[in-house]
């Protein structure tokens, strides 16, 4: 395996792994805080059990996210030293702020997880909210740093040197807002649907239905609202990318030739040699409309870029189609859920309805991975868009393939263990219900 390809694979694997845990780590605290709030308001012990059950899941996901995030802060240098040498001081601002946010999150999590029965109830609740807010802030900051790679700003690039660096301008690069908004909504959608799906499945199994129904509702209210808002954010992102990174948009749409009144291509197999797309559904003018808000406007195609600067079209196009398709499915499911809440309450008890959501469990995360692929592969061959190429940033140490195999083995085993632990947690809920009902005087100890 070639070193560059191995380094890219390792980075993709690491980020693809981390993104799942990061999403769950930043969204689940809000579900917990909602359930915790309901417990404090209503005194219904089911909500307390739910908060505790979720918090155990969060502990497992948080630690996995934290260690994989720690690894990434090293891997940036281990794999891309020439990138970090220049980029570090420029896009370091979001990372230094993120360090603080992450630190606060870890502290607040300590308060929250171990604070049952030690602190005043509302202070304890508040620490849970702080976990969520600081997690969210971390996520937004990291995405802002990625935005800078897509839309570098805050320096002058003169003769290969990075001059007049302004880290604040780099933080507020042109891509930060659209990317951060899209990623935040994606995190809520993916986590909401995944959590709701698991609880829907437990309802189908007829286990502690009341408990799981409460969990299902909380998760889907968050996930459903985010899924309904996501198309708006998607539209903002598309219009933004059309201006900032036309090559990426062209690769997403497999749009080879610059033209006015460009068609939107749905599905199809791009032929990168012949520069055409086969077997696709084409909607005339729609791409021009989506990119620039006008059916007649010109959309720049890949023909405007030298061949060596083309992103891989096939991967980007497929990933984009998967992301949009799954986003639509989840939007439809969200509509169905809100409709049932409003008019058809009996659906919530029917098997077909629960099966729909149970089957949708992984969709959000597949969409997240696909979206991440679009933004990263769609930027290639650049690591800093139109400044530094990925191949020029890779580490000089040979044999990165071995490092890739090693990290693959680690991530695969971690994923297996986390899945195994999660299954055990989900199965164990009924027992902890029994335990919690016979409330022990020292919940702190009982919990350990």
């Amino acid at each position: 395996m070639e070193d560059l390809f191995a380094a890219r694979s390792q980075m993709a694997l690491s980020l693809g792994f981390h993104i799942i845990f990061a999403c769950i780590g930043m969204v689940m605290p809000f579900f917990m805080a909602t359930s915790h709030y309901k417990y404090l308001k209503t005194g219904n012990p089911l909500y307390k059990d739910l908060t505790k059950a979720w918090s155990k899941g969060v502990a497992i996901f948080f630690v996995t996210g934290a260690v994989s995030g720690t690894m990434l802060s090293f891997e940036l240098g281990l794999l891309w030293p020439k990138f970090m040498l220049h980029a570090g001081p420029i896009f370091g601002m979001p990372f230094s702020l993120e360090g603080t946010a992450f630190f606060i999150e870890a502290i607040a999590l300590g308060f929250f997880l171990y604070g049952w029965g030690i602190f005043k109830p509302w202070f304890h609740w508040f620490t849970g909210v702080v976990v969520g807010i600081s997690g969210l802030a971390s996520g937004i900051l990291v995405v802002a740093a990625n935005g800078w790679m897509n839309s570098p700003s805050g320096f002058d690039y003169v003769n290969g040197e990075y001059l007049n660096i302004d880290p604040i301008q780099a933080l507020f690069n042109d891509a930060w807002f659209s990317q951060a908004l899209h990623m935040t909504l994606a995190a809520f959608t993916a986590t909401g649907f995944a959590v709701a799906g698991i609880h829907a499945y437990m309802m189908l199994k007829k286990k502690n239905i009341e408990f799981h129904r409460k969990a299902f509702r909380i998760a889907l209210i968050f996930g459903g609202i985010a899924a309904l808002l996501q198309p708006i954010s998607g539209d903002i992102s598309a219009k933004d990318v059309a201006i900032r990174q036309p090559a990426k948009l062209a690769a997403m749409e497999a749009h080879f030739k610059t033209e006015k009144g460009a068609s939107l291509i749905i599905g199809g197999i791009p032929d990168e040699e012949a520069k055409e797309v086969n077997y696709a559904l084409k909607i005339p003018g729609a791409l021009s409309f989506l990119a620039h808000g006008d059916f007649e406007s010109e959309v720049i195609g890949l023909d405007q870029f030298p061949e060596e600067n083309h992103p891989p079209v096939m991967v980007t196009h497929f990933a984009f189609q998967i992301m949009v398709g799954l986003g639509m499915v989840m939007m439809g499911l969200a509509l169905l859920f809100f409709l049932s809440n409003w008019k058809k309450k009996e659906w919530l008890k029917e098997n077909w309805f629960l099966w729909l959501f149970a089957l949708a469990t992984p969709l959000g995360f597949i969409a997240v991975e696909a979206g991440w692929t679009v933004t990263e592969v769609g930027r290639q061959p650049w690591i800093i868009y139109e400044i530094l190429k990925t191949k020029d940033a890779v580490t000089p140490i040979p044999g990165i393939a071995y490092s890739f195999y090693l990290f693959s083995a680690i991530y695969i085993s971690l994923a297996l263990v986390v899945t195994f632990l999660l299954i055990r947690q989900i199965k164990a809920v009924p027992e902890s219900l029994k335990e919690a009902n016979a409330e022990s005087p020292k919940p702190f100890i009982a919990n350990t």
């Binding site: 090293f74 281990l78 001081p89 601002m93 990372f95 230094s96 300590g110 030690i118």
Partner: protein, 336 residues
């Protein structure tokens, strides 16, 4: 503003060695305890570090961020030439963090516990070993940016006696910090006297490992003795540390836990400060003598200014909440 960043860099490293070190050390104490007492050590370890372990390791992240934002050439040179030990360090970090949480949050307590324990204890040993080794490698003078072959470029910088001796010394320090800390965490007589004995053993090991560092430096031709004979400042700091250690040896049995902890923290801080003072302002000592220091390798202008402000503002949030976290869980244990 560069000085603010340098102070924070030093502080993060110091706090990581103290807090992260005690945290790793808990695993080392568990690993070296006889089987019949290990379960009880494990139980108090969990009570002690459960709520704070994650925060203990954040200092490493802060250190890394300061390095890549403020001193990018240092960060990249370490990343390139110490790639292999860094990867091994990462494996230790992953294994330790996950195993610690998994063993307590696994809903079923079965044979998997033995696997978690194994991973936790071994990675508690391996991680500080490589951490120390990396630290040793940066000052060992074996990093050679112009090296032509694989061995000189990527192996020799860290695969040497001196780096390993620093690694072992770090492990000893971690075990020492943890053992002294854990003494104050139990009221049980038998366990307490066991931990007092352990603390003394780790004190001896720390002193021996410290001697090994000087021996290794002599063998490898690294000038470390000047720290003792030519620099009155470092010599007096180390003498104070030794006195504190002797005092701690006798005081630990009497059981004033605050004093014991303060003394152990002082000993370790003093060692680190003496080393820091000796090498300041250099961070990486290279073979050619063109060392990378916090002055010649720092970013300049706005990146340093914004980093300094971010650290100052960040610490306003972090430090009070961290102290409150430590204080709360210490108090809750006293109440129990």
């Amino acid at each position: 503003m560069l000085y603010v960043v340098i102070v924070f860099l030093g502080l993060s490293i110091l706090l990581y060695v103290l807090m992260g070190g005690a945290d790793f050390g808990a695993g080392i104490v568990e690993m070296t305890s006889p089987a019949k007492i290990r379960d009880r050590v494990r139980a108090i370890t969990y009570q002690t570090i459960g709520p704070i372990w994650e925060a203990n390791h954040m200092w490493l992240i802060i250190t890394i961020v300061i390095l890549f934002v403020g001193f990018p050439s240092i960060y990249t040179m370490l990343s390139v030439h110490l790639h292999i030990p860094l990867v091994l360090l990462l494996i230790g970090i992953i294994g330790r963090g996950t195993a610690f949480v998994f063993r307590h949050y696994d809903a079923v307590k079965d044979d998997m516990q033995r696997i978690y324990n194994l991973i936790f204890t071994y990675s508690s040993f391996v991680t500080p070993l490589f951490l120390g080794l990396i630290f040793g490698a940066t000052v060992s003078g074996n990093i050679n940016p112009d090296a032509a072959n694989f061995y000189d470029s990527f192996i020799h910088p860290w695969f040497n006696f001196f780096s390993f001796s620093i690694g072992l010394f770090t492990v000893a320090i971690c075990g020492f910090l943890a053992a002294v800390f854990l003494v104050g965490e139990t009221m049980e007589k038998e366990l307490k006297s066991y931990l007092v004995k352990r603390s003394r053993i780790f004190m001896i090991v720390t002193v021996l490992a410290g001697g090994l560092v000087f021996l290794a430096a002599e063998v490898e031709g690294i000038d470390l003795v000047s720290l003792l004979v030519q620099e009155p400042m470092t010599l007096s700091i180390l003498l104070l540390a030794t006195l504190a250690l002797v005092f701690l040896w006798f005081q630990i049995e009497k059981g004033n836990r605050k004093l014991s902890r303060a003394l152990s923290g002082f000993v370790v801080s003093a060692i680190l400060i003496a080393f820091g003072y000796h090498y300041f302002p250099d961070i990486i000592i290279t073979q050619s003598g063109e060392n990378l220091s916090v002055f010649n390798s720092s970013a300049t202008g706005k990146p340093i200014e914004t980093l300094a402000w971010a650290l100052l503002i960040g610490s306003l949030f972090i430090l009070p909440s961290l102290f409150y976290l430590l204080f709360s869980f210490q108090r809750s244990k006293v109440v129990e």
